[in-house]
Symmetry: C2
Subunit: 198 residues, 2 copies
């Protein structure tokens, strides 16, 4: 029995909400006494961290020559959303915290913002806004996974059809990026000559 097997078993449960994920059910699934897990993991929070690190470990930070800063940012956040969707219950706060892979991606975001020409003060606000946007999107994913139906049902009363979760993510990201560009007057790209489309 290894940590990898425990993480794999945890992912197989893919619990919709934190309440649905339990150490005891995990042990049952592994055909092992409950307390055996505690030989590989300090406690439930430790297991969460292991899972988050595993999931975020698969998210690449796009290389500087992979495109304009906003396109690279979109790829990073898109990948993070897909990765974390495998374990929706990860929400709450497990995320911002200690996970090594989370800080790796945070560094990636900051470096992309630097390439985009954001000054330090601007980058802090931009990061916080992107982080907030991401949290909200993940929360929305968790709600959908837990409740089943679309959570913003009221939108249907406006146009008759609700945009898909992916559309909500992409169009929302569009809006945030537009805001970042006009708020800080950035269209230029420090990385290379080719400017981003503003």
């Amino acid at each position: 029995l290894t940590q990898e097997q425990i993480v794999a078993a945890a992912l197989k449960q893919s619990p919709a909400s934190p309440e649905q994920f339990s150490m005891r059910a995990l042990a049952r699934d592994l055909d092992v006494p409950v307390m055996t897990i505690y030989n590989y993991v300090a406690n439930k929070d430790g297991l969460y961290e292991l899972v988050v690190n595993h999931l975020l470990g698969s998210v690449r930070v796009p290389a500087p020559d992979a495109g304009p800063w906003d396109e690279r940012m979109r790829q990073l956040m898109r990948a993070a959303r897909v990765a974390l969707a495998r374990f929706p219950s990860v929400m709450m706060g497990r995320l911002g915290g200690s996970a090594v892979e989370a800080t790796r991606l945070s560094d990636g975001v900051l470096s992309i913002l630097a390439d985009g020409g954001f000054e330090d003060n601007e980058a802090v606000v931009a990061f916080a806004t992107l982080f907030t946007f991401m949290l909200g999107q993940l929360e929305l994913d968790a709600i959908v996974a837990s409740v089943g139906r679309e959570p913003i049902a009221i939108l249907e009363s406006v146009t008759g059809t609700t945009p898909s979760r992916d559309e909500i993510f992409e169009r929302g990201f569009d809006i945030v990026v537009h805001g970042l560009k006009t708020r800080f007057a950035h269209g230029r790209d420090r990385r290379r000559i080719r400017p981003t489309q503003s």
Copy 2:
């Protein structure tokens, strides 16, 4: 014993996370047998809905003559954040759901967007983005309430100081509004002659 007393007692607990809020602790606080609460509330989810309705009930939708659409939107979302901060554990999905007051505020947001000149298709995307932003901000509040320290510690490495939660909310809202205005080319205001500052 009334529903109001139960809600008041629940608010007095102001649990940081959903795990910290329990029917049994609530009963203890009310000096009442646990099962007595179930005479006033179907189950824990029902109690959550009661609390959400109580909190959101205090949030006013700014009147059409209260200012430009983006200022009214800011006031609404600011008030919603303050109100829900009293019960951080409300997150997860309790929100989008059935609460009457939540749909009242959703209608308010949609009417403000209509005043801002957004077509139906645009309003849907705008609503979803504002909703996502709000969810993320609430999640961030819940993390701060639960973990205690600032959750985006990495920002300190950039500028030495972290912006306050309120600053993160206000500047983030600025960015989203900027994005909405440029994405949909709106500065005008259908409500009156005075246009919003673009």
